[in-house]
């Protein structure tokens, strides 16, 4: 890559990546758009640069590296574990900053020692940043969706609510709105007498048969995506939920959990104290959380740099556990963002489940920070 607009600290990044035993990969700038829209959602469409091939296939300029790197790994079928690094230009429509900028990062695929791989991702990100923005005190924010999932589960909330809450995790305004709505019962209206009757009789087979017959009669069944059974089951689940409401105690426990924001060195104790006070058994999730803290200490990471914020997550369904962001203390710019995305590889077509964790660096923001 002989691009003359490369950030002047690119060499340092590449030597850091090499020293950290990663395999440098490049991916085409022009990518099929489908995987990005499929994984990140339609909202991305407004923020990427799309075009069409002569044959009508949707293409886009590479908006980030994780998906292309993972796809490349699946295609090349070279097995895991693998540690990839990248440095290159990405293209996004942004309100602030340019539309083309550089990103670099590491993707760690297939390491089954989750705690150690999580710790290494954070330690790599801190190490690289300390090299390129020397002398600045970094601040790391860490979140863990798995702990939230454990809290929701331990509260014994109905499965339908658990799913909704976990789905909204990471988007605080949506989560607050959801919690507020669960406090009052959600009555179900508009069911015909016939359906209401079948439900009252608790006759699933008859309800399924009725839905099936209606689908046949309306010519919808040939191409129906949702089956009569799926509709009947969810309807029943919804009716059960409609008669219940999130009680005040559970509401307060969730609010209290989401407001936790403590230095990582105190986080294990804070979580244990929270669980005790609320009478929740968070067993495995806390053990894994503690395991990661220990692994971070083992990796030589200065734990004093890290804060744990319980509400911090990303509302995308392939993030499963750790998320983190790193900036310079006292500033708001995020210089590095990362996390664990154990579901992504199978979403992208990998045959077996491949645990994955990684981070990417915003080189334009790093450049700005270096200039201060």
């Amino acid at each position: 890559m002989a691009l003359i607009n490369l950030p002047d600290f690119s060499g340092e990044l590449l030597s850091e990546f090499a020293a950290r035993k990663t395999e440098r990969v490049d991916t085409p700038v022009i990518q099929p758009a489908e995987p990005f829209l499929d994984i990140a959602g339609e909202d991305l469409r407004r923020r990427i640069f799309m075009t069409e091939s002569e044959t009508g296939a949707s293409l886009c300029l590479r908006p980030e590296f994780t998906i292309p790197v993972c796809l490349r790994h699946i295609e090349s079928a070279t097995g895991t574990p693998k540690r990839y690094s990248y440095l290159g230009e990405v293209f996004r429509q942004r309100r602030e900053g340019g539309n083309e900028f550089y990103q670099a990062g590491i993707e760690d695929l297939g390491d089954i020692n989750i705690a150690a791989a999580d710790a290494r991702a954070i330690s790599d990100a801190i190490g690289v940043l300390e090299r390129v923005v020397p002398g600045k005190r970094l601040a790391v924010t860490l979140g863990d969706q798995a702990v939230f999932e454990a809290v929701v589960q331990a509260l014994g909330l109905p499965l339908g609510w658990q799913k909704r809450l976990i789905h909204a995790f990471g988007n605080m305004s949506q989560l607050e709105a959801l919690l507020a709505s669960l406090v009052s019962p959600q009555f179900v209206t508009g069911l015909s007498d016939e359906i209401a009757h079948l439900i009252a009789a608790d006759d699933e087979a008859a309800l399924v048969a009725h839905i099936d017959a209606t689908m046949q009669a309306t010519g919808y069944s040939t191409n129906a995506s949702r089956s009569p059974l799926e509709i009947a089951r969810r309807l029943k689940e919804k009716l059960i939920l409609s008669e219940t409401r999130l009680d005040d105690a559970a509401f307060r426990v969730l609010e209290e959990f989401l407001s936790l924001n403590v230095p990582l060195i105190n986080a294990s104790a804070a979580l244990a104290g929270f669980a005790d006070a609320a009478g929740l058994k968070l067993g495995n999730a806390l053990a894994r959380f503690d395991g990661r803290v220990a692994a971070l200490a083992n990796a030589g990471v200065d734990l004093a740099l890290i804060d744990y914020r319980a509400a911090f997550g990303r509302p995308l369904d392939y993030y499963t556990g750790l998320v983190f962001e790193i900036g310079v203390q006292g500033t708001s710019a995020v210089l590095a963002g990362g996390g664990r995305f154990d579901r992504l590889m199978t979403f992208l077509g990998a045959k077996e489940r491949i645990p994955a964790v990684g981070f990417s660096l915003w080189l334009d923001r790093i450049e700005a920070e270096r200039a201060v």
Binding site: G41, E42, G160, A168, A224, R226, A232, R234, K238, D317
Partner: protein, 231 residues
């Protein structure tokens, strides 16, 4: 400065718009012959009229190549990013009513609200191996409504430029976002509107392109006042 008003070039929209302008004392005559795409206004020498298709009108308003236009609010909000910054809706004209709605198969007995749809969407991939597919020509309105207002990210849009109501039955999409005035086409295709699924209640509007030069133009305010007085 000449003020250009873009009006629909044909159909009910054209007739209804002309009627309102007539009442407002703005008599439009075609330049040359009846089928001409340019018009003038009697007694308003600094005003000219361009007859365009409704979707073109919203685009021209967005780029500021016309000063005023009569077009559907749906086309303005779908066609222009940050519509309220670029245009001003001066008056809602009381015709061309149509709602942009989210509609699902009637037989989805368990889906009555956007929250229900959110549940279905978040589970969809695990159950069916793909994202929930929405057929629509309203990309922008759909994204804003689903993502910003309801926090639903996990769906795919399948572009549909016509006969959108048929998409769920033909299997090309699971649900639709489309325009409806009476709901009869939706019902005929066994679709129902979600109880909180009205994205926009649209009607024909008298719209102004936000241009700085308008501040010093008496004609601009006179036109707005005249149209409002006719409602």
């Amino acid at each position: 400065m000449t003020i250009t008003i873009a009006l629909p070039s044909k159909g009910r929209m054209k007739d209804d718009a002309s009627a309102i302008f007539e009442r407002a004392g703005i008599r439009i005559t075609a330049v040359g012959n009846d089928r001409s795409y340019r018009g003038r206004v009697e007694g308003w020498d600094d005003v000219e009229v361009a007859f365009l298709s409704a979707s073109e009108i919203s685009r021209e308003l967005g780029s500021g190549t016309v000063d005023f236009g009569v077009t559907g609010e749906d086309l303005v909000r779908e066609g222009l990013a940050e519509a309220d910054k670029r245009v001003e809706i001066c008056a809602r004209l009381g015709f061309g009513h149509a709602d942009v709605v989210v509609a699902v198969p009637e037989i989805w007995l368990d889906v009555d609200t956007m929250a229900d749809l959110g549940d279905v969407a978040s589970d969809f991939r695990a159950r069916h191996g793909r994202r929930l597919a929405i057929a629509t020509k309203y990309w922008r309105l759909t994204q804003q409504f689903f993502s910003s207002q309801h926090g639903i990210q996990l769906y795919r849009i399948v572009e549909s430029l016509g006969a959108t109501e048929g998409a769920p039955a033909s299997g090309s999409a699971d649900i639709i976002v489309d325009i409806t005035s009476t709901g009869s086409t939706l019902r005929a295709n066994n679709l129902k509107i979600l109880s909180d699924g009205v994205i926009l209640r649209s009607q024909a509007c008298f719209v102004r392109a936000r241009k700085e030069s308008h501040a010093n133009e008496a004609t601009v305010q006179r036109l707005i006042d005249a149209v409002r007085s006719a409602l």
